[in-house]
């Protein structure tokens, strides 16, 4: 375990190295969120009633701000890294090392996620006084505990899904396309563009049970206190089952993939 924690610390320190890129990334991601919020304000103005599908404007702003914060816990880097290792043959060097590649990548990208979260949280705290009146503040002690559990679950599920997609490189060699295809679908189904409540009613029930809702929709709903504790716990059990299913799938695909793997070069 110590070796994974060491890599976690090392990658966290590495994240602080490129300050220009870091500040730029922070500005870019927040401008994007800001544009989405402005667009929704325009929709609310056009609608004229102040409430859309049960969401007030403050709810909508809160949803996007909270989502942007929680999405930092989506660990997708592991998938891209493993795909690249398989393609260029670097995996040969890695598999002979005395550590699990999957766990190593998890800690590596968890450190990145934590860095992104701290960055984003600090930025939001700094600008909060300017838009506090546009936010809803309904967080309770119970929902905080559940929220933390959800964010940890999100890191596991996202990492397992992306590594699974990255491992398609064993068969496709170039797995970028698979990963980008899924990225688009995952973003859509996780409520990145709009709360899932705006989807047809039957679809919401299904989407809540899929593992993607845990990335931002469910945590944002918890933050806004729109999900009861009991509902939250029930859904958490579903997502824990998803973790087990994905773990099993990862193991099966890894075993089959390593049998198929051949490295180019000496």
């Amino acid at each position: 375990m110590q070796k994974y924690l060491y890599s976690f610390r090392m990658h966290l320190l590495e994240s602080f190295q490129y300050r220009f890129d870091t500040v730029l990334g922070l500005l870019v991601s927040n401008i994007s969120m800001f544009i989405t919020i402005i667009f929704w304000m325009l929709i609310y103005r056009s609608n004229g009633t102040g409430v859309l599908n049960g969401y007030t404007m403050a709810d909508m702003v809160t949803f996007f701000v909270a989502s942007s914060l929680f999405r930092t816990f989506i660990l997708n880097g592991g998938g891209f890294e493993i795909a690249s290792m398989i393609k260029n043959g670097d995996l040969s060097r890695i598999i002979i090392k005395p550590h699990s590649i999957n766990i190593f990548l998890y800690w590596k990208y968890l450190s990145n996620a934590l860095f992104e979260f701290i960055k984003q949280f600090t930025f939001l705290l700094l600008i909060a006084p300017f838009f506090a009146k546009h936010l809803t503040w309904k967080l309770t002690a119970q929902s905080i505990i559940l929220l933390i559990a959800y964010l940890v679950t999100a890191t596991f599920i996202s990492h397992l899904i992306w590594v699974l997609l990255g491992m398609t490189a064993f068969w496709l060699e170039q797995a970028q396309a698979v990963m980008w295809s899924f990225a688009v679908i995952i973003n859509f189904l996780s409520g990145m563009f709009m709360p899932l409540d705006f989807f047809p009613h039957w679809a919401v029930k299904v989407l809540e049970l899929l593992p993607f809702a845990v990335f931002s929709y469910i945590p944002a709903k918890l933050y806004m206190n729109q999900l009861s504790f009991a509902q939250g716990v029930n859904l958490l059990i579903v997502y824990i089952i998803w973790i087990l299913v994905l773990l099993l799938l990862n193991l099966m695909v890894w075993r089959a993939g390593v049998k198929k793997y051949s490295a180019v070069g000496g």
Partner: protein, 262 residues
């Protein structure tokens, strides 16, 4: 003729790359099409709850979105891979090789690889745009279509120049991958109606400083006969200005460039 022959070779080489990774090409094509479809679906879901947004009906909004996608896919297919290669070449020192070639540096920065999957996925927004045009209450004239195409070309040129201007910062800061995010912001802004800018001055700032309005709003407005002359002229002027400024920035950057390779 010399540059035309180079372009021909580049097209051939990119096709050979596609032939090597055929599955990747098909999946990338699928991804781009899914992207377009999901965007349209989002608009559909929003319009369940509203009749119009700042005067834009559902079909008009889809036309705006498709116009943005056309510009986006053209840039992603033809220019973006080369821009990414350019900033990479500065950080790893391979830009030296570009400097010694007897070809214009601006030409080299903007051409080379073609991402065929992004380019061919243009089909999805074009088909949807044509279908939506048919379902409009009024008839789109030939002049509307010609002007639309002219301003789509202007938008691609403008986007290319703007990104080249930003990437010229690589000469100073070396690692500028964060700037690629600005492209996504620009595209995200371009697919939204210009009415998100409450003040006229602010809207013009998004024509001349961060050129998001000319990318899709102007072409779509022309097609829908909603455009106004000052905005159309401003877009054309902005396109020319950004081209001149970005070319000057690259030339200035080259003078400051010191190789990163040994």
């Amino acid at each position: 003729m010399y540059y035309f022959n180079i372009l021909k070779e580049q097209i051939k080489l990119s096709l050979m790359w596609v032939a090597i990774y055929r599955a990747n090409f098909m999946l990338m094509l699928l991804q781009s099409i899914i992207n377009s479809v999901l965007g349209i679906l989002c608009i559909d879901f929003i319009y369940i709850h509203v009749d119009s947004i700042a005067g834009w009906s559902k079909n008009e909004m889809i036309i705006l979105y498709c116009s943005s996608m056309i510009v986006n896919q053209m840039y992603r297919g033809l220019i973006n891979p080369n821009h990414l290669r350019f900033i990479e070449s500065i950080s790893n020192g391979s830009f030296d090789r570009m400097l010694v070639k007897p070809v214009s540096i601006i030409f080299q920065i903007n051409t080379g690889n073609i991402d065929y999957s992004s380019f061919f996925s243009l089909i999805a927004p074009i088909v949807v745009l044509c279908l939506k045009l048919k379902s409009l209450d009024f008839r789109v004239t030939g002049l509307n279509v010609i002007l639309f195409l002219v301003f789509v070309v202007n938008a691609i040129g403008l986007l290319t120049s703007f990104m080249m201007l930003l990437y010229s910062l690589a000469f100073k800061h070396i690692r500028v991958y964060g700037l690629t995010g600005i492209y996504f912001i620009l595209m995200s802004m371009s697919e939204k109606p210009k009415e998100i800018f409450l003040y006229r001055e602010l809207m013009y700032a998004f024509v001349f400083l961060i050129p998001s309005v000319p990318l899709a709003n102007v072409p779509a407005s022309i097609l829908l006969s909603k455009g106004n002359i000052p905005e159309i002229i401003a877009s054309a002027v902005s396109g020319m200005l950004f081209f001149l400024v970005s070319t000057a920035a690259i030339k200035k950057g080259i003078r400051k460039y010191s190789s990163a390779s040994s």
